[in-house]
């Protein structure tokens, strides 16, 4: 019975990777992504080393640990939120093991152990370990610091298992995140220090090392509950059956009035509402709304217009870029069906185009709070929105024709494992989407000043709208020309 070990489980994952179609390409992408991950690790490492000195400078009287403790609850909150959208239990892979002579305990252990390898569990370690080392070198400390680190790691571990429960119920998930949001609103806007409770807790942990028993026991508890829960899930009608889904978006009769175009818009809205992967992308697009904050709050960027334009493009075009680059891959699961239907290709493309344009308008409305940063920032946002609306949307749609990697609609994409939709051509196409707006701003700006740059952006957008018929025809032709290529690559999953 005991012959199946964790090593066997890893071996299976390895074979799954190397025997997948186009694994060479996937390997190349993995290597590229490993560099990205390495970059992040290095960045976190620097951050970890730097925190100590930053803290020393900004609050010399305060212990840096207490400063970190202020942020921990936000970190864990956001960590849980991101995990909710990307982390999945690798449970489907183990279905064939069920009827093999392997004990269920071993299977569950394998699954849980693998989940601990998640990128998210490493972030606190990578940031805080260098911090602790620097701290030890500079201050006279005892073991309490290390116990505190251990405690924080336990909390990360708790998140790791907690997210699988949250995933089971949307109500619990939404409730939890609303609670966190309310907490931070009370804390920072209304001045009611609700979240300080957590901060006090982390401080207490640092001051009283024996308190580490609490996160430790909580961690053990989540492991235990998860263990029992998972073991019960190892039946076809439990963990493998998939949730019974409620039908959403069945009305939408408003769109019937727009004739045959409405049919496609209806389908696209349903696609977004009813598929995990699409919802994930919408969420990503939503996050891009906050992209501006990074730049607009920094004095250094206020005079660097290139960066501001860059920020504007992403703030107003987040959804457009993330959703649009996967046209027509969104329909890859049934693409051959679409191709032998009597489909007006133009309407199919138009529907996607309108969706992107609509998202730009929506993003613009949601970006209105950026007015807080002044008229200049708002002007930039408005101009980049016009560019995205009139020109960016067409470029994105055009680039989609060259993206031939299929999308699995109802499967979550994992962080840093989203290799299924990465291609070199897509990388190339980010250039016109991002560099072009910077260029049409910068050239007039150099000669005639800020207003001219803004006019340049707006004009380019309007130009796209003016020639929309021509552009759409070009795009349609490109899609049609690549039909067979797209079909054959969509069939390879």
């Amino acid at each position: 019975m005991a012959s199946y070990s964790v090593i066997d489980s890893i071996k299976l994952s390895k074979k799954k990777f190397f025997r997948a179609p186009q694994w060479e390409l996937k390997l190349a992408i993995r290597i590229l992504i490993s560099f990205v991950v390495l970059y992040f690790l290095a960045a976190f490492l620097f951050l970890g080393v730097g925190i100590y000195f930053i803290a020393q400078k900004s609050a010399p009287e305060q212990n840096p640990v207490f400063l970190i403790n202020q942020f921990l609850i936000y970190y864990f909150g956001i960590d849980l939120l991101i995990r909710y959208f990307v982390q999945n239990l690798p449970i489907t892979n183990i279905k064939p093991l069920l009827i093999q002579p392997i004990s269920k305990n071993k299977i569950v252990q394998g699954v849980m152990l693998r989940s601990l390898g998640s990128f998210f569990n490493w972030i606190p370690l990578v940031i805080l370990l260098p911090f602790c080392i620097v701290y030890t070198l500079n201050e006279t400390t005892t073991y309490t610091l290390w116990i505190w680190l251990l405690g924080v790691l336990f909390f990360a571990g708790i998140n790791n298992f907690l997210v699988f429960f949250i995933n089971k119920s949307r109500v619990v998930a939404v409730g939890l995140f609303l609670l966190l949001l309310l907490g931070s609103v009370f804390q920072n806007v209304l001045g009611v220090p609700l979240l300080s409770f957590f901060e006090k807790g982390y401080d207490f942990l640092f001051l009283n090392p024996e308190a580490v028993a609490a996160p430790f026991l909580l961690f053990i508890l989540t492991i235990g509950v998860q263990y029992v829960f998972l073991k019960k899930q190892l039946y076809l009608d439990k963990g493998f059956s998939g949730k019974k889904e409620r039908i959403v978006g069945s009305g939408l009769t408003v769109f019937d009035r727009v004739g045959s175009l409405g049919v496609f818009i209806k389908n696209d809205i349903r696609l977004i509402l009813r598929n995990v992967r699409a919802r994930q992308v919408v969420f990503m697009g939503f996050l891009f709304l906050f992209y501006g904050i990074i730049f607009f709050t920094q004095e250094v960027y206020m005079e660097s217009y290139v960066m501001l334009i860059f920020a504007g493009i992403f703030t107003t075009g987040g959804f457009m870029l993330t959703f649009g680059q996967l046209v027509p891959a969104w329909d890859s699961e049934y693409f051959s069906f679409l191709m032998c239907q009597n489909i007006p290709y133009r309407n199919y493309l138009k529907s996607k185009l309108y969706l992107m344009m609509f998202s730009v308008v929506l993003s613009l409305i949601l970006s209105l709070p950026y007015l807080y940063f002044g008229i200049k920032i708002m002007t930039i946002i408005l101009a980049t929105a016009i560019f995205n609306f009139g020109m960016g949307s067409f470029i994105t749609l055009y680039s989609g024709a060259f993206n031939a990697t299929p999308v699995k609609l109802n499967v979550k994409a994992k962080a840093f494992e989203n290799t299924q939709n990465f291609s070199f051509s897509q990388l190339l196409f980010t250039l016109p989407k991002i560099v072009l707006p910077v260029l049409v701003f910068y050239v007039p700006f150099q000669f005639f000043g800020f207003t001219a740059g803004i006019i340049g952006l707006c004009l380019t957008g309007l130009l796209g709208l003016l020639f929309n018929g021509f552009l759409l025809s070009r795009i349609e032709k490109t899609y049609q020309k690549r039909k067979h290529q797209t079909l054959s690559s969509f069939q390879k999953t």
């Binding site: 998939g242 009813r274 598929n275 049934y334 191709m339 032998c340 009597n342 489909i343 109802n410 079909l487």
Partner: protein, 233 residues
Amino acid sequence: MITVTNLSKTYGGTLVLELPELSIPKGQRFGLVGNNGAGKTTFFSLLLDLIESSSGRIAINDIDVQSSEDWKPFTAAFIDESYLIGYLTVEEYYYFLGSLRGLSTKEIDEWVLGFESFFNGEILGKKKYLRDLSKGNQKKAGIVGSLIGSPDLVILDEPFANLDPSSQIGLKKLIEDIAKKSTITFLISSHDLTHVTEVCDRIVLLEKGKILKDIKTTPSTLKELESYFSFKE
């Protein structure tokens, strides 16, 4: 209805289909049999312009499928589950197909009533996404979907596979009824020799991409096919 001339398809030097000449008249129920790799699905894919031929041409109603798309309004197919849109309900899927073929939702609602006995109360009004239906019910939903808007040509790949016995018998009856009432041309591939010989009036046997037999169905056809497919000692 369909004319094939000098059609061939090769993959990396291997010939997978070679049809010098084949014509299928209007209203025929054309059965395609052959072991795996005989070229049945390749033929259907070429017919629907889903893959490009290496040489030759296929015309539906004298329209070359590779150079025009005008065959689409009167051609329908159900090849496999990827011909369903998984995140739609059956009704939504039919409305979508209807809208592509000029039928209103009301017309679809009325039309679909005619299939109630075939559906056996398991498909309509279930408030389920197509991806959550069983394999058999997905197939039934797809087959009926291919009949929407009374096309002239209906292509079905393995329609009997995955169906329960009642549904298999129901499907045979369905095809025969339609054939009696209209001049729809059916192209049906199947591994089930009994069903395909009962339903089709012509059987073509493919082997390694070539036509081996082309027979008008008679009571002795099943025996003939069975003797071909038996393992030779």
